[in-house]
């Protein structure tokens, strides 16, 4: 009798485990991969840990170990790959360009090993940062800075930088600017985008020539003048900008769309935060890529491909915009719930207004940093 009850219990337990346990990728395949992320901030790290990793585990039965790391470290580690050092990577455009240029061994990714990559526009697979990607990377998401504004105070946000400059008195004391000598890239990005709006094609001129140009001097003076209308003191770092939004002191600022809107949802920014794009552009289009080292064991590769394919699936890509306010890497804009467009502009607005990458110039960034003192009110 006791024997029979044991057997019944064991059977029920086995059935239960079989029903509850996720379906493994394939017998004998690794069930744990390390994803190395050298790109993400707090928002994406949380998203991966709370949303993506559990979803991958549930759907594919693969445990993802999430490793936050630095780009330089990963280049060295990937060249001499060992288990636990990153079976696939999430990288910024600049990083993937460096990896490819410096000959880091990466697997070629295509529609054969990652079928969902067919939904990515070929131009994003071909090159980025002026570097031929040689099929070594898959686009994961796109994003941009935007004019972040608190819709509680700003009912009619400026449609262009020219309009914003003309209406500066209306926003006096409420324009959010990060100190030009801050560590955050927004310190120079806010100024560079402003200058670009007034210089446009002239931004391609050599800096020595540009500096002497009357249009540049006019734009620079406008920038100095615009700074006087900012909330004082200028925010030391983004955390202060956010606090200024929370306190109601700042109503409008150029900042990362995804991080700002995500923060609003997390309760660290006012819930009435919205994003808009000025017609002369708010930023370059930021891109995030996946890459798989070529020197990982074949069975790891196969699982990595499956995971990437899942991350490029429509379900996961739509979540990028509805959860993270980042644009999908795949072309599925028509599937995005319309409510998302009440928060952020459509992708075609972004692509039309984006500033070409060659105008986000290092020498101009250095010029802004070098003249930071002039840009303090």
């Amino acid at each position: 009798m006791r024997m029979r009850s044991w057997a019944t219990t064991a059977f029920l337990v086995m059935v239960g485990v079989a029903l509850v346990a996720p379906v493994p990728v394939t017998a004998g395949m690794p069930t744990e991969l390390v994803v190395a992320d050298s790109m993400s901030g707090a928002n994406f790290q949380t998203y991966w840990q709370k949303t993506v990793i559990p979803a991958v585990k549930q759907v594919l039965g693969v445990n993802l170990r999430y490793l936050v790391t630095s780009d330089a470290e990963q280049i060295q580690k990937t060249k001499a790959w060992r288990p636990g050092q990153g079976d696939f990577h999430i990288l910024f455009a600049k990083s993937i360009a460096t990896w490819v240029k410096s000959g880091v061994p990466l697997e070629t990714l295509n529609t054969t090993n990652v079928p969902n990559s067919a939904k990515i526009l070929p131009e994003f697979l071909k090159s980025d940062e002026g570097v031929d990607l040689q099929g070594k990377a898959l686009l994961y998401w796109r994003t941009s800075y935007a004019l972040i504004h608190n819709s509680q105070y700003v009912k009619n946000p400026p449609k262009s930088w020219h309009e914003f400059y003309d209406r500066r008195a209306e926003f006096k004391g409420h324009i959010g600017l990060i100190r030009p000598d801050a560590k955050s890239s927004s310190a120079w990005r806010q100024r560079l985008v402003f200058l670009h709006a007034f210089l446009k094609d002239k931004m391609t001129l050599p800096i020595e020539q540009l500096e002497k140009d009357a249009a540049f001097q006019d734009a620079w003076n406008k920038l100095k003048d615009f700074t006087k209308y900012a909330k004082a003191p200028l925010a030391s770092e983004p955390v202060n900008l956010f606090e200024d939004f929370n306190s109601g002191d700042t109503h409008i600022a150029l900042y990362a769309q995804d991080y700002s809107l995500w923060s609003a949802r997390q309760g660290t920014m006012p819930p009435t935060i919205r994003a808009t794009y000025p017609e002369e552009g708010a930023d370059e289009i930021g891109t995030g890529y996946f890459a798989v080292p070529a020197n990982i064991p074949p069975e790891y590769k196969e699982v990595a491909f499956k995971v990437l394919n899942y991350l490029l699936s429509d379900d996961q890509q739509i979540r990028l915009i509805t959860t993270m306010w980042q644009y999908p890497g795949t072309e599925i804009t028509d599937q995005v719930p319309p409510i998302a467009w009440e928060m952020v502009p459509k992708l075609d607005v972004l692509t039309k207004t984006a500033i070409p990458r060659d105008r986000i110039r290092k020498d101009m960034i250095d010029y802004i940093k070098g003249h930071a003192k002039e840009l303090l009110p």
Binding site: D181, L234, E237, V239, E243, S247, K369
Partner: protein, 290 residues
């Protein structure tokens, strides 16, 4: 011969026992300091050559001198206010009032909270829509606009006091508790009232403790980084200035940063020497009273 061998062996053992601390001293303090000193005299971005330019540029610049002055203002003001806050608090807690253990624990809170988190919390609390201003706007008659505390020099001093006063408070409390109650009783028996006992007996006796704590507060405030970085607004003392040199320009200006760090170190040591001299005198006077 045996005695000589024994003497050598004792020296050897002493050296062997001292070796870990010597290695730590050279590896963790002397070597990095030496590198900083050397770097501060190197022309920017070069591995050879010597120059005083990094020092002269910083010290001859009006902004550089303002940064030094600001650092002193912030440290001295916060130290003085910490003492003013600590002494009455320590005297109150000494009386073992109801819940004194909880109060003692609360005094230590700023020490265990990382400076950055503390600064963020203070910014939120004192902000235009923080609890303080919400309270003031709601309940204080005549106040119609939020009081501006964040990003002002007064606000920054206040933040420093909150973060660093535990050093002064703890040493003052410790000095008070080690005081023999018999001395105060003797004063009272001799006819001194409570104020006279406090003024002529207690305060002189705890002065060395207060000064020791104030030195710690001053040093912490002088080297403060995360609080002024986040909560300082336009007020950016020496530690932030050093950080700026290495985090903003590309390539980083290591020589300039090292020179400012050396200026900061020298000022700190010089001020400490003067302060300790005064403290010793004050301690001596206290001894005289005793």
């Amino acid at each position: 011969m045996t005695a000589l061998w024994r003497k050598h062996s004792v020296h050897g053992i002493t050296f062997f026992l001292l070796l870990p601390s010597l290695l730590c001293f050279f590896g963790l303090f002397f070597y990095p300091m030496l590198l900083t000193v050397i770097l501060s005299f190197r022309p920017e971005g070069q591995e050879l050559g010597w120059t005083l330019e990094n020092y002269t540029r910083f010290l001859s610049d009006a902004d550089g001198r303002w940064v030094i002055l600001l650092t002193f203002i912030l440290s001295l003001a916060s130290t003085a206010l910490s003492v003013l806050l600590s002494v009455p608090l320590a005297l109150t807690l000494r009386e073992k009032v109801r819940g004194h253990r909880l109060y003692r624990l609360m005094v230590l809170v700023p020490l265990v909270i990382p400076g950055l988190i503390g600064a963020l919390g203070l910014l939120l609390f004192w902000g235009s829509r923080g609890w303080f201003n919400l309270f003031v706007l709601q309940f204080v008659p005549g106040v119609t606009t939020p009081l501006r505390i964040n990003y002002t020099i007064q606000g920054l001093i206040f933040f420093y006091v909150w973060l660093y006063f535990p050093y002064t408070c703890v040493t003052t409390m410790s000095a008070l508790e080690s005081l023999d109650p018999g001395i105060e009783e003797a004063g009272a028996v001799a006819g001194a009232n409570r104020w006279q006992v406090l003024r002529h007996i207690v305060l002189p006796l705890i002065t060395p403790g207060i000064l020791a704590g104030s030195v710690l507060t001053f040093m912490a405030a002088f080297g403060a980084f995360s609080v002024p970085l986040i909560a300082g607004g336009d007020y950016r003392p020496l530690a932030v200035e050093i950080y700026k040199q290495i985090s903003i320009p590309i390539p980083a200006r290591w020589s300039a940063a090292s020179a400012i760090a050396m200026v900061m170190g020298v000022l700190q040591v010089a001020f400490l020497a003067v302060y300790m001299r005064i403290a010793r005198r004050a301690g001596g006077n206290a001894g005289g009273v005793r």
